[in-house]
Amino acid sequence: MPTAEEIKQRIEAAIPGAHAEVEDYTGGGDHFRASVTAAAFAGRSRIEQHRLVYEVFGAEIGGPIHALSLQTAVPDQAEPISAASPQTPSR
């Protein structure tokens, strides 16, 4: 079973420029909460941002990683690259 630290490392390795904070919120090694900030999320919808993170783990989601709750955000920057997505969150 992965640890919160491993999950964090994998997200940060897979998504350029990502910073992830991950906690195991039941202590049981299979329910995680991750907060990920990445410039790579800019211009993407929440769905697309979450998909980027889920794709790091593929079939492990629902398996060894029973739950991975996500919050994603773009780092606070001056201007998003494109105005394509009206719902770019800024936190």
Binding site: I47, R51, I61, A67, L70, Q87, P89
Partner: protein, 133 residues
């Protein structure tokens, strides 16, 4: 998202998403959710107060499999509005807090077409109940 190869469960899912303006695929039912994430998502939708259809994915493991293949999303619950995946529990909760969910569900405009009570589709293992508040 069209799939006409002989896969009745996938077809039933696609049809359900197409026919119901707001549809939540969840574990359990709105009255008796079987998981915390599904429960929270249902509660959020009920807080907005607009009608939604609900599908319990638990009766048949193929439902979840086909749904995830269709939506390219690995977890349950999944909320679709007007044929598009809006998100799971995290996204729905975030959108509720920002006010976006009420907008997307048309809570502001009372002019939404009322959902007519649908007969349960005869597809295997998929039962849909309309939640008309």
């Amino acid at each position: 998202m069209s799939s006409t190869d002989s896969n009745p469960i996938r077809d039933a899912i696609a049809e359900a998403i197409d026919e119901h303006e707001v549809i939540l695929f969840m574990k359990g039912t709105p009255e008796a959710p079987a998981c915390g994430f599904s429960a929270r998502t249902v509660a959020t939708l009920q807080a907005v107060g607009t009608p939604f259809a609900a599908v319990d994915i638990l009766p048949d493991p193929r439902i979840r499999q086909e749904l995830s293949a269709l939506s390219n999303w690995p977890t349950i619950p999944q909320l679709f509005v007007k044929g598009e995946l809006v998100g799971g529990c995290d996204i729905v909760t975030e959108m509720y807090e920002s006010g976006e969910l009420a907008q997307v569900l048309g809570a502001d405009e009372q002019a939404q077409e009322p959902l007519e009570p649908q007969p349960q589709p005869a597809s295997q293992g998929l039962s849909i109940e309309n939640r008309l508040n």
